[in-house]
Symmetry: C2
Subunit: 117 residues, 2 copies
DNA sequence: CTTTCATATGAATAAGTGTTCATATGTTTA
DNA sequence: TAAACATATGAACACTTATTCATATGAAAG
């Protein structure tokens, strides 16, 4: 019942191979998924998201809070915005950023749960 | 009621600053969290995890399935194992890898949901 | 014990990324 | 209009990372 797809020994069933090939999302989706997680994969960006959990904030507030330059925060907010994790609202000279949706919180909480195991 | 922590204008309330500072996990946790998401932030690793959704697999099966070299897969499995996302089981010459727990599936599914919005 | 096979690993390279600095854009106020 | 301020952006740099190639390790079979 087993097939040999690579090694001498019979490793996994042919129907599993077909099932995986069928269920595997297309390359574009997988690429986008990795790109999304890449955005979460930087502690500065994670800190920014955590800060926005409480309230919307302007760029300089975040910079002050995290002890980083305004430029660094602005660059990272751009990345977060491109990934649709945060959204921006202009009020005069000031730009307020906030979480784009609740997925952000869910994903981060899942991550936290995994770490704390 | 507002304080000025950076700009001319009064941006956010002082109690929010205190709340954020209180709720923000410590630097080590935030670093670990970012490191975890970094692991998900590579399409090869995401593909490997997807394959393991169906069934445990040996290294050469995964390599064949994803059209990548055995070495590349082995290096990436090492990363996944360090992050405790997969576990290994030896059977003779063959090493079978499988998902370490269900968090993996949950995190990836949350990511997919965000993308498909 | 030697060969064979599956996997792991180290070094090298090419590509990607986060921060800083300098500066530009855009908005408000004098 | 000019000055002041918040934010955005481009270039440069140091640092990280994914893959490949060559080779080592570990296990089974002859």
């Amino acid at each position: 019942m087993c097939i040999d797809i690579c090694c001498d020994e019979k490793c996994i069933h042919e129907d599993i191979i077909h099932k995986v090939e069928h269920d595997l999302p297309n390359d574009e989706t997988l690429y986008d998924l990795a790109e999304l997680f890449k955005v979460f994969g930087d502690s500065t960006r994670v800190k920014i998201l955590y800060a926005l959990f409480e309230s919307e904030m302007c760029v300089c507030d975040i910079a002050e809070l995290l002890n980083l330059t305004q430029s660094a925060i602005s660059h990272q907010l751009r990345v977060l915005k491109s990934a649709k994790l945060v959204k921006a609202r202009r009020a005069g000279k000031t730009v307020f950023y906030s979480l784009a949706d609740e997925h952000v919180r869910l994903i981060i909480n899942q991550g936290i749960e995994h770490i704390l195991e």
